[in-house]
């Protein structure tokens, strides 16, 4: 166990090796590993992002599906309501029309009755005058007794 210049030589070799490692060996390995780590981390976070986006998209699609369904149901409901309204309106319009027609018919009938009664009255008066004329013949002057006849007619 004797110490000599070997020590110095080995220390110099050591220094050269450390310098070589620090300059040429360590940095490229570190760069390669760190780049790969970053790539993997990026990939993982991208996957996570994709998963979240998928979740959101499916949530959104189910939302819009539900919304569409609701909208369709509302449309059907309002259409049904409208249809009922239209039917109701038609019914009431028909009723009114019918009443009007009945009313008009009733008025017509009333008029006809009135006219028939008027005619009847004329004819009765005429018949009565004609009868009286036939009975009285000469004695009765149509002109002289028209006042009386008109009064008789009214009474009829």
């Amino acid at each position: 166990m004797n110490m000599n210049l070997t020590l110095v030589a080995q220390a110099i070799t050591f220094a050269i090796f450390i310098w070589f490692s620090a300059k040429f060996v360590w940095p490229p390995l570190l760069a390669a590993i760190e780049t790969r780590q970053k790539t993997i981390a990026d990939g993982l976070s991208a996957a996570e992002r994709g998963r979240l986006e998928l979740e959101q998209a499916s949530k959104k699609s189910s939302d819009s599906l539900r919304e569409g369904k609701e909208k369709a149901a509302a449309m059907v409901a309002s259409a049904e309501k409208r249809a009922a309204e239209i039917v109701e309106e038609a019914k009431s319009a028909a009723r009114v029309e019918a009443e009007r027609i009945v009313e008009a018919a009733r008025g017509q009938v009333e008029q006809d009755i009135q006219r028939a009664r008027e005619e009847l009255r004329e004819q009765v008066a005429t018949l009565a005058v004609a009868g009286a004329e036939r009975i009285l013949r000469r004695e009765v002057d149509a002109k002289a007794h028209s006042e009386l006849l008109t009064g008789l007619k009214k009474e009829l």
Partner: protein, 266 residues
């Protein structure tokens, strides 16, 4: 040229395998085998990782890249758990990677049977000790480098004044009467850190080598010795896998712990 020196007895065999290839350089001596082996094995290991890192893709990694990234993550997780004082990617983590890979590879050379390795190293020299971390110079060089880095970071983080203040006022308190005790405590701590750091690794690897050598000596003594030497050698090699990896891990962890402690104020 190697066969001429074939050892004649156990003592010579073990001594032969524990001696370094010492060459004079300038005014001092250098263990050429430790320096060259350490450099070659470290360059091969780090070069392999560098080759993979250069072609690293951020996409789906191949098996080779996955293996290197496994190592990278292991180091980075360990450092992240200990060093929480700022950017670790600039220096601390690469330094930890270097320490772990280099020490692991140097330790792992212990798995190559000494006499089999000599078939290759013998081409260069008969004197060639293969495991650089069983050379106290190597482990102490690493520990001392970490020690200087520790002081560098302590001063960088706390300032020179803050560092001196800490040496005299921590851990017992800032009262002037406590200054000597604090100073003594810190000196012991600063001395013990590199010593325990380096000697733990050195001792483990040295002991592992010796046990292997003793088993190989036994294996040369006859049929029974060969059988038991082979069985125990296999057992020790398997257990040694744990020691090799564990010591490399401990050495790296302590390196990070010391540097992290330097960033902490008391």
């Amino acid at each position: 040229m190697s066969t001429e020196h074939a050892p004649s007895n156990a003592t010579e065999y073990i001594q032969h395998h524990l001696s370094f290839n010492v060459q004079p350089v300038g005014n001092g001596m250098v263990h050429v085998d430790s320096v060259i082996t350490a450099f070659v094995i470290g360059a091969l290991a780090l070069g392999f990782i560098w080759w993979v890192a250069r072609g690293a893709t951020a996409g789906v990694p191949g098996k080779r890249q996955a293996f290197v990234e496994l190592l990278f993550d292991f180091i980075d997780d360990t450092v992240k758990g200990i060093f929480t004082h700022g950017d670790r990617h600039g220096f601390i983590a690469p330094a930890a990677l270097t320490v772990f890979v280099w020490v692991l590879m140097m330790n792992a050379l212990d798995f190559i049977p000494a006499d089999a390795a000599a078939k290759v190293t013998g081409l260069f020299s008969d004197e060639w000790r293969l495991v650089p971390t069983a050379d106290v110079n190597t482990t102490f060089a690493l520990a001392l480098a970490v020690w200087f880095l520790m002081i560098f970071y302590a001063i960088k983080v706390k300032g020179i004044g803050g560092w001196i203040h800490e040496i005299f006022c921590a851990p017992f308190g800032g009262h002037p009467l406590l200054w000597p005790a604090n100073f003594l405590f810190n000196v012991v701590e600063y001395v013990s850190k590199p010593l325990s750091h380096s000697l733990r690794l050195y001792g483990n690897m040295y002991a592992g080598e010796i046990i292997f050598l003793l088993l190989w000596v036994w294996a040369a003594t006859g049929l029974a010795g060969t059988v038991f030497g082979a069985i125990l050698g296999a057992g020790w090699a398997i257990f040694h896998i744990l020691i090799v990896v564990l010591q490399a891990y401990i050495f790296m962890t302590l390196t990070v712990v010391y540097l992290a402690m330097a960033h902490e104020g008391h």
